[in-house]
């Protein structure tokens, strides 16, 4: 079947899609977006997490046909600008700066889950962070640096929001 959908703000299509294949396969193998990682294929690890119509889901559990006509945002679409002007999202920067990126395999899913958490709750408590990230497994080591990254991404995001609203109201004073 032919699938048309919007991925990271761009209309994309693919032909000869097998209806039982996953959105993850469609993204990685047909649309050339390898950011979402394929690990468990059963919704256990969260490394394939993407936004589907604004909601974080495991792309391995979405049938490709179910994504037709929908909007998908992958880790490649988090952040702003394109090409040379591309800017990392505060969440992505915080992961790099806090050493929360180790082998990197779980990182794309964690970025999407963290981004969603901070959109809903800019100042999460540690239990809230742990609950929000419970579906994203890291097998390198502990989660301390990841927790640090989420906390500092939250702070950075709030700073950005504050400075933007300060600019809008005519400067800081």
């Amino acid at each position: 079947m032919r699938i048309e959908l919007t991925v990271n703000g761009t209309s994309r299509d693919a032909d000869d899609v097998w209806p039982g294949e996953s959105l993850l396969y469609l993204l990685r193998e047909r649309l050339g977006l390898p950011g979402s990682k394929n690990a468990c294929e059963q919704g256990e690890c969260g490394s394939c997490t993407v936004y589907l119509d604004g909601t974080p889901v495991c792309s391995c559990l979405v049938a490709a046909g179910q994504a037709a006509g929908r909007e998908v945002t992958t880790v490649e679409g988090i952040g702003s600008g394109a090409g040379e002007d591309r800017e990392l999202d505060p969440v992505q920067r915080a992961f790099v700066e806090n050493g929360a990126v180790q082998c990197g395999f779980c990182t794309p899913g964690l970025i999407v889950s963290t981004h969603d958490l901070l959109e809903r709750n800019p100042r999460p408590t540690d239990p809230e962070i742990r609950e929000a990230l419970a579906g994203n497994l890291c097998r390198c080591t502990g989660y301390e640096k990841i927790l640090d990254a989420v906390r500092s991404a939250g702070e950075a995001r709030l700073d950005t929001v504050r400075s933007t609203s300060a600019e809008r109201t005519g400067g800081s004073r």
Partner: protein, 293 residues
């Protein structure tokens, strides 16, 4: 493989009537795993995510009609006050990603003995609304399951909704698993107090071929609470009553040994969960009176 995409409930029923072997898929949290691992190759998939009727939560005859396609996340955010037991169970499902997609309809349709929705639905006396082009019927959840992963659903039928009465008293759900997320219950138990009619509801998960009520335990506890006037006096529960309730819940189970736990462990855990949830729910029942007084 065919892929059917109905955009209305009538269309969905027509497709199912014409293609009884089409496998319904909503959140995909069960079906897609089977496809990904080559465990199943159905001739067709029936995508239910574009049927708006399935995503509705309505009030019908004083009951909540929960559309089969409502994901767990919405049970938590929208129904926590009215269906606290179901919301508690929904919070223990998988992970945020899974809760964003998984549905009550899918949970019932899969009919796993370990489905997290089932114990609270049993405890609150819910009914499953089942439809086909032949008509609509309602089946009590306690009669819906016929065996492990088997239910009363006919090949041309789809689950439309679940009808649940809003809570009239405290409800509890507890589940045993090796960690706090991403686990299938080793054993689960739900309890609902129905003070307005002097009844207690129960639901057992993962400890029998199907989810089931502990009927004898329900009758025993309801009878003792009424006989001693405890619903009204809201006095503390005698320890012996709590213990006996736990024993009778344990006796209602017929678990198996498997990779997640032994039958003995499940029986033991069930008695503990029954005592705990009863203690918690009774404390809540008592404190509602204190607040009202």
């Amino acid at each position: 493989m065919d892929f059917h995409v109905p955009t209305s409930w009538d269309q969905a029923l027509a497709v199912k009537a014409g293609h009884p072997d089409a496998v319904p898929v909503a959140g995909g949290t069960d079906v897609m795993v089977e496809l990904n691992f080559d465990r199943r190759r159905p001739p067709a998939l029936l995508d239910l995510t574009r049927v708006p009727e399935l995503a509705a939560v309505d009030r019908v005859d004083g009951r909540i009609r929960l559309g089969a396609g409502v994901p767990y996340t919405r049970m938590i955010t929208e129904l926590g006050a009215e269906l606290p037991g179901l919301a508690m169970a929904a919070r223990t499902v998988g992970s945020p990603q899974i809760r964003n997609r998984g549905t009550a309809g899918g949970n019932l349709g899969s009919a796993s003995p370990a489905g997290d929705c089932h114990p609270p639905l049993l405890a609150s006396g819910a009914e499953v609304e089942i439809a086909s082009v032949r008509g609509v019927r309602r089946v009590p959840v306690a009669e819906f399951f016929t065996g492990p992963k088997r239910s009363v659903l006919e090949p041309d039928e789809l689950i439309a909704a679940v009808h649940v009465a809003p809570a009239t008293g405290p409800q509890q759900f507890a589940k045993i698993g090796p960690r706090n997320a991403m686990v299938i219950a080793v054993t689960a138990f739900a309890l609902a107090l129905h003070p307005e009619r002097g009844r207690v509801g129960t639901g057992i998960g993962s400890a029998a071929p199907t989810p089931r009520r502990a009927l004898d335990a329900e009758d025993f506890l309801s009878g003792e609470l009424s006989a001693a006037g405890l619903w009204e006096s809201r006095a503390p529960l005698p320890e012996s009553l709590v213990t006996e309730f736990g024993n009778r819940v344990r006796a209602a189970a017929s678990p198996i040994d498997d990779v997640r736990g032994s039958a003995d462990y499940r029986r033991h855990v069930l008695a503990v969960l029954a005592r705990r949830t009863l203690t918690w729910a009774w404390e809540a029942h008592r404190s509602t009176e204190k607040r009202a007084a």
